[in-house]
């Protein structure tokens, strides 16, 4: 990806999260990548319509616009009843509600004793509340990911989301989208043989979300370390995006509160071996 393309993508970004007032009885629309949202606050209820629009890499961004007509008929309607509605709407990004299994299109081989840095992007969930800290109205993915099973067999394992990615080794190659957060993955191979990175689990439920100055989203950086002992691996989380030159502000907490070094378990549970 050329520098000009990257700059153009960054120029199109802007923060879509935060709180905004909403006139009672008036419909407002948001478009965050492929995710479309329409909201109307009534005296005693919230009405929210959501739908998928365009492909998963759409970069559209429209904030609180006033649509000409009603929400489209194919949009999914959610009604939330409240005794009284305070017409303030808060949007926040959050990472996926299950861990994500990343499959590089072309597996990367990490020699013994070496480390690599991968950059993957995952779609964020749009968390809608009635004002900051108010009742939760909606928590939906900006793009529906495919389900997958991560485990040695169909008896042992866990459900996760699947992403096929280019798993870029250069940050400059990573496309910027308003609905995707970049996660820096550092893979360390302290094993005795080469480590093929053809499938690895990113523990996104334990990662916070950050925003940089241009409105791009990031997550905490993750290090996946293969230990010299056979069958052992450890995942650790560094606070912040972990990229030099990126000044990011924390905009959402992890879904699951964990320590910074929260997984020490079987190698297969991180690398899918």
């Amino acid at each position: 990806m050329s520098e000009a393309t990257r700059q153009a993508q960054e120029a199109d970004l802007q923060p879509w999260w935060g709180e905004s007032p909403l006139p009672l009885g008036r419909l407002r629309a948001w478009r965050i990548g492929p995710y479309a949202l329409w909201v109307r606050a009534e005296a005693r209820e919230w009405r929210l319509w959501s739908a998928a629009r365009g492909d998963s890499m759409a970069a559209d961004l429209e904030l609180a616009t006033e649509p000409a007509g009603d929400a489209p008929a194919d949009a999914r309607l959610t009604r939330i009843g409240l005794v009284s509605v305070d017409p303030r709407l808060s949007l926040r990004p959050a990472l996926a509600d299950r861990d994500v299994v990343v499959r590089p299109d072309i597996p990367v081989l990490v020699p013994p004793g070496a480390r690599i840095e991968l950059y993957v992007t995952t779609p964020v969930w749009v968390v809608v509340r009635a004002g900051e800290g108010g009742p939760l109205l909606l928590d939906e993915p900006s793009h529906r990911l495919s389900d997958t099973w991560f485990g040695p067999d169909t008896l042992v394992g866990e459900l996760a989301y699947a992403i096929r990615t280019a798993s870029r080794l250069e940050l400059a190659e990573v496309p910027r989208r308003p609905h995707r957060a970049i996660t820096k993955l550092e893979v360390v191979n302290d094993g005795r043989d080469a480590l093929p990175v053809d499938k690895l689990k990113v523990p996104v439920t334990g990662l916070a979300v950050y925003a940089d100055a241009s409105g791009g989203l990031w997550s905490d950086a993750v290090t996946l370390e293969r230990r010299p002992q056979a069958g052992e691996a450890v995942a650790s989380v560094s606070s912040g995006p972990g990229v030099n030159g990126v000044a990011a502000q924390r905009v959402a907490e992890p879904r699951v509160a964990t320590g910074s070094r929260f997984t020490l378990n079987a190698f297969g549970r991180l690398f899918g071996a």
């Binding site: 299994v101 499959r103 529906r144 990911l145 495919s146 389900d147 997958t148 099973w149 991560f150 169909t154 008896l155 866990e158 459900l159 699947a162 499938k199």
Partner: protein, 310 residues
Amino acid sequence: MGWLASVRSALHLQISGAQLAGLIRAGVYVVLGIVLARFTAAAVNRATRQMSAQERVLLRRLASYLVAGLFFASALREAGFRFDVLLGAAGIVTVAVGFASQTSASNMISGLFLMLERSIAIGDIINVSGTVGEVLSVDLLSTRLRTFDNLLVRIPNQTMVSTMITNYNRLPIRRFDLQVSVAYKEDLAGVEQALLEIADRNPLCLEDPAPLLIAMGFGESSINYQLSVWAKRENWLELRNRITREVKAGFDQLGIEIPFPHVSLYAGSVTDPFPVALANPAAGRAAAVPGGGPTPADASDRPQSQQDPA
């Protein structure tokens, strides 16, 4: 104690005051036992919230039966029953009861095995000899199911232990096998690619275990495939409905024929197959209504396969 004398005379009972007082105490014990057993059951229910429904029910019943049993035994003693006599007669009673309740005892022991084995739990969807339903309870003598058409089925525990049970809820992911048939004329590589792409596009279909496509062989009217896709257990039914719809829509879009069963008439290796053609649809419709029989001209237009072999 004048009121006791009044009660005795009113009931014309030949019992002493001490006996009557004992009976009253026994009654109090029974009532107290029932109340305390219920209270104990509620307390155990609250204390075991972290356990499974099955374990909670088991513990709740054990605790309440124990409390009720102790109070009932005390009530019997207060009522004047002598346990040494009961115990003396127990041998004879045991033999008599044993003969009379072989089935019940077998069911009770089977119920204990079922509870210990934990192959089913309350809330599971199971299939027992073709009966599919949700487990409502595993009692001492029987297991109760609620079928999807809301019928209550009571299955003796002895049957549950000796028959094959399929539990649909025990494992988190499930496979659906879709049988797909395509016409002999189709390009099979294209068909296989289309099926795998349809599975790939459906987000409910698990990426891992990967969708599996098996060529089942040459059928009478079609080439048969099995598309096996995995889904999260809760999404299984939705995936089943969606993937069927998507395969049909995908095949329609690509012009891939899903053939009906058909038969080709063929006279042998030395002749060509009989040509079949609808020569005059309007005449065919006329022939179908009363009084609209075929004319000699229609008969000459009939396909060769419908004419006399001579």
